[in-house]
C-alpha cells in the first residue's frame, strides 16, 4: 500500500491521456454490461417457459393467422391436455383522454405508453399458467365481465390503475381495428407472480377475452395468432409438435408447433442472432480497448525509461518496477470498470423509467431490464483483466531494462 500514492502520482502525470484511457475502458465495460444485461433478460424470459407448453403458429409468419377451426383438431390429438386461442392485439392507449373516444378510427396512437396486450381464451389460458396469480374474487369478476381484463402488477403500478378502472386501447393491426373506435376495457384483476419460484415471469402484460375481440371486429374473421397447447408429457413435446403440424400439412394454412421456449427464442431471433451480435460487439470493443490501453501503457513506460533506470539505481528491484507498471494498468482498469458499470446501471435505470422506451421493451417481454450483480461483477472483472493484460508487455519491458542501457541513452 505504501507504493499506491507513487502509482497514483504517475497516473496523474498526463491526466488527459489517463482520462481518455479510463473513459475508453469505461465505454467498453458500459457496452459490455448493457449488452449482457439485455441478453440476461432474454435468457430469463426464455427460462420462464414451460416444457409442457407448445405454441402452434402459421408456418409462414406470425403475421398470418390460423383458422379458428384448428382448435378442435388440435384438441383431438392424444396427449393434448388443453388448447387456448391467443391473438397479440398490439393495442396502445389512444392519445385522447380516457372516456372521450368518439369512434373516430383515425385517433392518434400513443406509442410512448405501449405495453404487451393479448386476447386469450381466459379459462384455458390461465389454467396453463399457474405462475400468474390472480385473487379469486378478481378472477371470478374477470371471467364474468366481457370487456374485463387482467393486468400485471408492474403495469398497474405504472399507470396507477386499480380494479374497476377503465381505459381504451386501439390496435395498430388493421384487422383488429374497428370502425366504432378503440376497445374499451375495465380492469377486473391484477395478476402477480412469485418471482422466487418463477423468475423471469412477465408481470407487465394485459390479457383480455378473445371473444371480446372476436365480437368487436365482427363480421370480419379474427383468426388466431397462436394456439397455446398444453400437453400431458413435456418429454413428448417434439413428437407432439410433429403430430399437430401433420394435421394441417395439406391445408392452405400449414403450421409450425414448437415449445414455448423455442417460440420465444425464434421471436427474438427475428431481430437476427441477437446473442451472437451482442457478444460479437462486446468482444470487438473489448479487444480494441485492450490495444488502446496497452498502447497507453507502452507510451507511459517509454517516456519514463530514465525514471525506470533511476528507480533501479536507487535499489528498486525489477519486480518492483514491473509491479508499478502493472499497478498503473490495473488502476486504469479498476477506474474504467467502475465508471463503465455505473454508467451501464444509470442507463438501464434511465431507459427502464423512460416512457416510450420502457414500454416498447415491455411490449417485447423485456420489462425487467436491469444490471444484475453477476453482469456487473463480470464487467468489472473484464476491466481488471484488460488492465492487467494491457500492462503486462510494457511491464515486462520495464522488468528487463538494464540500468546501464537506460542511463547511457539519457
Amino acid at each position: 500500500m505504501k507504493y499506491l500514492p507513487f502509482v497514483l502520482k504517475h497516473l496523474r502525470r498526463n491526466w488527459v491521456r489517463t482520462g481518455s484511457t479510463v473513459v475508453a475502458m469505461a465505454v467498453c465495460i458500459f457496452l459490455l454490461c448493457t449488452l449482457r444485461s439485455v441478453l440476461a433478460e432474454v435468457d430469463g424470459m426464455l427460462a420462464a417457459s414451460s416444457a409442457s407448453r407448445l405454441v402452434t403458429r402459421h408456418s409462414v409468419s406470425l403475421t398470418f393467422n390460423l383458422p379458428l377451426a384448428y382448435e378442435a383438431r388440435i384438441q383431438s390429438v392424444p396427449g393434448v391436455k388443453r388448447v387456448a386461442k391467443t391473438a397479440w392485439f398490439g393495442g396502445s392507449l389512444p392519445a385522447k383522454k380516457e372516456g372521450q373516444a368518439d369512434g373516430d378510427s383515425d385517433s392518434t396512437t400513443d406509442w410512448s405508453n405501449f405495453f404487451n396486450n393479448m386476447a386469450v381464451d381466459v379459462e384455458t389460458y390461465f389454467a396453463m399458467y399457474p405462475e400468474l396469480v390472480i385473487p379469486p374474487d378478481q378472477w371470478q369478476s374477470f371471467k364474468e365481465t366481457r370487456m374485463g381484463c387482467v393486468i400485471g402488477s408492474k403495469l398497474a403500478k405504472k399507470f396507477n390503475w386499480k380494479v374497476g378502472d377503465k381505459f381504451f386501447l386501439e390496435s395498430f393491426i388493421p384487422p383488429y381495428r374497428r370502425r366504432s373506435g378503440p376497445f374499451e376495457f375495465v380492469v377486473s384483476g391484477i395478476y402477480d407472480a412469485d418471482s422466487a419460484k418463477f423468475p423471469g415471469t412477465d408481470v407487465s402484460s394485459m390479457y383480455f377475452h378473445y371473444e371480446y375481440l372476436k365480437e368487436g371486429v365482427a363480421p370480419r374473421d379474427v383468426g388466431v395468432g397462436t394456439f397455446m397447447v398444453e400437453i400431458n408429457d413435456g418429454n413428448q413435446a417434439a413428437s407432439m409438435g410433429k403430430t399437430i403440424d401433420a394435421l394441417f400439412e395439406n391445408s392452405s394454412a400449414t403450421s409450425i408447433t414448437e415449445t414455448e421456449q423455442a417460440f420465444k427464442a425464434s421471436f427474438i431471433a427475428m431481430a437476427g442472432n441477437l446473442a451472437f451480435l451482442l457478444n460479437g460487439i462486446g468482444l470487438a470493443v473489448a479487444f480494441t480497448i485492450l490495444l488502446v490501453t496497452a498502447n497507453t501503457m507502452s507510451m507511459a513506460v517509454r517516456e519514463r525509461r530514465t525514471e525506470i533506470g533511476v528507480l533501479k539505481t536507487l535499489g528498486f528491484s525489477s519486480a518492483h518496477v514491473m509491479g508499478f507498471v502493472v499497478g498503473e494498468a490495473l488502476l486504469l482498469g479498476v477506474l474504467g470498470g467502475a465508471l463503465g458499470v455505473f454508467g451501464s446501471q444509470a442507463l438501464l435505470i434511465g431507459i427502464s423509467n423512460t416512457p416510450g422506451i420502457a414500454d416498447i421493451l415491455a411490449g417485447i417481454g423485456l420489462s425487467g431490464l436491469e444490471l444484475k450483480p453477476d453482469v456487473a461483477t463480470l464487467g468489472f472483472f473484464i476491466a481488471v483483466v484488460l488492465g492487467l493484460f494491457a500492462g503486462l508487455v510494457p511491464a515486462l519491458s520495464a522488468y528487463r531494462a538494464r540500468i546501464t542501457d537506460i542511463l547511457r541513452t539519457v
Binding site: K2, E307, L314, I403, T404, L407, V410
Partner: protein, 225 residues
C-alpha cells in the same frame, strides 16, 4: 585507514554482435574510507563504467569489486538491488528527479524500501533536505527548482539512506559555475563532516581539484601521474 572500495584486476568487455570492446583492462583501484576521489579521463576511457561497477549497477567481465569488504561482483541482480538500496548513493549529471514527485517525496523514494513508517520516512527526508539547505523547498516540484537546487535534492536523495559510499557521475556537468561551486562545497561537507566516501567522475579540472585524490583513466587503464 581501512579500504572502503577495492577494485581488483577488473576487466569489462562489452559485446556488440561479434565485436568485443574492452572498456576496462585489468584495472585495480583502492579507495580508503572517508576518501574523496575524482576519476578523470577522456570520453570513452572507461571512467563511467568503473563508477557503475563500484555503484553495483553493472558487473565486471572478470575481477572483483569490494565495497565495505563485500564482493559485489558475485551478487545476483536482486541481491545487488537490495545492496544498492542501503549501501550506495548515486548522484547523476542530469539530477534525474521524478517530475511528478515533490522535493521531499523524491528524497523519500529510497526509504520506501526500508521498514520505516510514513512519519519516519518523512522526517528523515526533511532532515536530508535540511542538510543540503533546501528544507524550505520541500514541497516544490522539480520544475519549480533551479538546476543547482535540483542537484541538491538529488544529493539529499543519495544520502537519505545513510550509505557508505557516494558515487557521482559528472555532478556539476549540467550546472553554471556558481551552482557547481555550491554542489562541490556540499560534497566536501558530506565528505568532511559526514565521513562519506565519495567517488566522482568529472571532466572539469576545477571540480577534480576539490577531491583529495585524482585518478586518470585512459583506454581502460589507470594512469600513474
Amino acid at each position: 585507514m581501512t579500504t572502503m572500495v577495492s577494485v581488483k584486476d577488473v576487466t569489462k568487455i562489452y559485446k556488440r554482435g561479434a565485436e568485443e570492446l574492452k572498456v576496462l583492462d585489468s584495472l585495480s583501484l583502492d579507495v580508503p574510507e572517508g576518501e574523496f576521489v575524482a576519476l578523470m579521463g577522456p570520453s570513452g576511457s572507461g571512467k563511467t563504467t568503473l563508477l557503475n561497477l563500484i555503484a553495483g549497477i553493472d558487473q565486471p567481465t572478470s575481477g572483483g569489486v569490494f565495497v565495505g569488504g563485500k564482493n559485489i561482483a558475485v551478487l545476483s541482480e536482486g541481491e545487488l538491488a537490495k545492496w544498492r538500496s542501503h549501501s550506495v548513493g548515486f548522484i547523476f549529471q542530469f539530477y534525474n528527479l521524478i517530475p511528478v514527485l515533490s522535493a521531499v517525496e523524491n528524497v523519500e523514494l529510497p526509504l520506501l524500501l526500508t521498514n520505516l513508517n510514513k512519519k519516519e520516512r518523512r522526517e528523515r527526508a526533511l532532515t536530508a533536505l535540511k542538510v543540503v539547505g533546501l528544507a524550505d523547498r520541500s514541497s516544490h516540484y522539480p520544475r519549480q527548482l533551479s538546476g543547482g537546487q535540483e542537484q541538491r535534492v538529488a544529493i539529499a536523495r543519495a544520502v537519505v539512506t545513510d550509505p557508505q559510499v557516494l558515487v557521482a557521475d559528472e555532478p556539476t556537468g549540467d550546472l553554471d559555475a556558481k551552482s557547481a561551486e555550491e554542489i562541490l562545497q556540499l560534497m566536501e561537507t558530506l565528505n568532511r563532516d559526514f565521513k562519506k566516501t565519495i567517488v566522482m567522475v568529472t571532466h572539469d579540472p576545477r571540480a577534480a581539484e576539490r577531491a583529495h585524490v585524482q585518478r586518470h583513466l585512459e583506454k581502460g587503464v589507470l594512469q600513474l601521474r
